[in-house]
């Protein structure tokens, strides 16, 4: 039996723990730089605010409905997530943190336990200790547990936050209830194709022949189908689809004109991505750089372009990646454009230890030790070492106009109790 534990509206819930007056109040959380909406409380969802929408377009709506807007406070969300995960890990040794607000738990050999009771206890404990509400889906496979969780959440009043798919009837009903675009692991691209072929629900999906799926999709989707049929194909700690790319995209605070300034930004984004790449012990063998002007300024020329470079060999070195990223940037830079946004995506990721060496180039592993040292230094002293193309004085200053306090990680930002009564 698998349980998927998912925090309800996690970012909004974190904010509410320290500002309880916002309970039942609509909340939205904005991305880094306050660019777009990345999380909404149920109340904000009900007001029709879409996920991913640019924040400035909804300024009036925010005001009209008195919606509380927050910049993303990752130090707070990260710490609250750690607390929740630590509590969850005490329930079973077989445990997988799936994302900042989700974890799978495998209950093996729990036949003398009432798992539903355990789950209700889990919900109560997490709520009391941390203030975070969670929902739990129970099912024989991970794919089904995901769906059970959605049901638990959607009908929380009837389910008390726990829903279990434990017989055939419930499984079929749940699959029919789940739209294909909401099935775990089915991306936007496949959703389109499936819909064209008359597949609209998870139930339709399991009726598709193995042959068709293999031919038109991949073995990953085939295993997902088996999982939804109730055969546990996706194991614990097995990512259904590995992270295929790492990307950093930012809007600039001020418009940029010069190639020099753009180069500085792209270098910084590249270093940031490369750090993440090394953290997950991968290398990449191609990268994409894109730049764009402000699409919302209608009077100016709109320009957007991107460039993909295939690297001569897979690497995780800042220095090499930066060299090629700047090459790509030089290929698409045009003068007299008001640039508002740039980004880099590292693609074709593979594990570093599986990296292919080439016959004529001994340089591939040359930077390995250097990168280890740079990462260590930067971890300890906070981005102390940068590439020469990066501005040494520029900090990663983000626009965070509605940032809440770091209540749990900074002593001078903890809750203040005004004991005046």
């Amino acid at each position: 039996m698998f349980a998927l534990v998912d925090c309800n509206n996690f970012y909004a819930s974190c904010e509410r723990v320290f500002q309880p007056q916002l309970e039942k109040h609509p909340i939205v959380i904005l991305s880094n730089n306050d660019g777009c909406i990345i999380a909404r409380s149920n109340e904000a969802k009900r007001l029709g605010i879409p996920m991913g929408a640019p924040a400035f377009k909804y300024k009036r709506t925010f005001k009209k409905y008195n919606i509380k807007v927050f910049s993303s406070n990752y130090p707070l969300y990260g710490d609250m997530s750690n607390r929740v995960m630590k509590i969850l890990s005490t329930y079973s040794p077989n445990f997988e943190i799936y994302s900042i607000d989700e974890a799978f738990i495998k209950f093996n050999g729990f036949k003398y336990f009432n798992i539903r009771e355990e789950c209700l206890d889990m919900i109560k404990k997490i709520r009391k200790w941390t203030g975070i509400p969670v929902s739990i889906g129970l099912a024989p496979t991970k794919g089904l547990a995901k769906i059970a969780n959605k049901i638990a959440k959607k009908y929380s009043f009837q389910t008390n936050g726990v829903y279990s798919i434990d017989n055939e009837e419930k499984r079929i009903k749940a699959l029919k209830w789940t739209a294909i675009e909401n099935v775990w692991g089915i991306g936007r691209k496949y959703t389109e194709r499936l819909k064209k072929n008359g597949v609209f629900t998870a139930y339709d999906f399991i009726k598709v022949s193995d042959f068709w799926i293999k031919k038109n999709m991949s073995v990953v989707e085939l295993r997902l189908k088996k999982d939804l049929e109730g055969f546990s194909y996706i194991k614990l700690n097995e990512a259904i689809t590995s992270k295929k790319y790492i990307t950093t995209t930012r809007s600039f605070k001020k418009i940029i004109f010069s190639l020099n300034d753009l180069e500085e930004r792209v270098s910084s984004y590249t270093s940031h991505c490369a750090e993440k790449l090394r953290e997950q012990k991968s290398c990449c063998s191609s990268l994409l750089v894109f730049i764009s002007s402000d699409p919302h300024k209608e009077k100016r020329i709109y320009y957007r372009n991107s460039f993909v470079i295939t690297l001569p060999y897979a690497t995780d070195s800042n220095i090499i990646l930066n060299k090629f990223a700047l090459k790509a940037l030089n290929g698409i830079y045009r003068k007299n454009i008001c640039y508002k946004k740039a980004g880099i995506t590292l693609m074709d990721l593979r594990a570093s230890k599986e990296r292919q060496l080439t016959l004529f180039n001994n340089d591939i592993t040359r930077h390995d030790n250097l990168m280890i040292v740079i990462d260590k230094i930067n971890m300890r002293f906070g981005n102390a070492i940068k590439l020469a193309t990066q501005d040494p004085n520029r900090l990663w200053k983000m626009r965070q106009e509605n940032l809440s306090k770091r209540y749990t990680t900074e002593l001078n930002e903890i809750i203040t109790i005004r004991n005046k009564t």
Partner: protein, 145 residues
């Protein structure tokens, strides 16, 4: 020219007598061994004493004097354990009508009082008209002298 053969004499090792040599493994350092080594213990950690449940512990800073009788003064740091159950006579961080406050709980049959420990402040009677959240129980007060 005549080359004279070098004169070599061979010595035979004496293997009749067996000698026992003790094998010593590990490093030998020349200094006097620390007599304290056998008594090594962890240095005292206030954190360990004060934080009984890491996952449920939060901190808050107090402004105001309404709890001075309980030793909670302006500027003190409170250690709050949310896993401790609220009971009569415990000191709790409460959220009432849109504000955080710290008070001693007084649980009666059909109502709760939030009692200040300062004669200048009256107890707050919590009725169904109030919105009360007992946010956590205060387990320690840290104050700077």
């Amino acid at each position: 020219m005549k080359i004279s053969a070098p004169r070599l004499s061979f010595f035979k090792p004496n293997i009749e007598k067996k000698r026992k040599i003790k094998l010593v493994l590990g490093d030998v350092s020349a200094g006097f061994p620390s007599p304290a080594n056998d008594f090594k213990e962890q240095r005292i950690s206030i954190d360990k004493e004060v934080v009984k449940n890491k996952e449920a512990t939060f901190y808050a800073r107090v402004e105001g004097q309404s709890m001075e009788g309980a030793g909670i003064d302006n500027g003190d740091l409170l250690v709050i354990d949310r896993s401790v159950s609220p009971e009569d006579k415990k000191i709790a961080v409460c959220f009432i009508d849109g504000e955080f406050t710290v008070k001693r709980l007084k649980v009666e049959k059909d109502c709760i009082y939030l009692v200040a420990e300062n004669p200048k402040y009256k107890p707050i009677k919590v009725t169904s008209d109030n919105q009360l959240i007992i946010w956590g129980i205060v387990t320690y007060v840290v104050k700077k002298i």
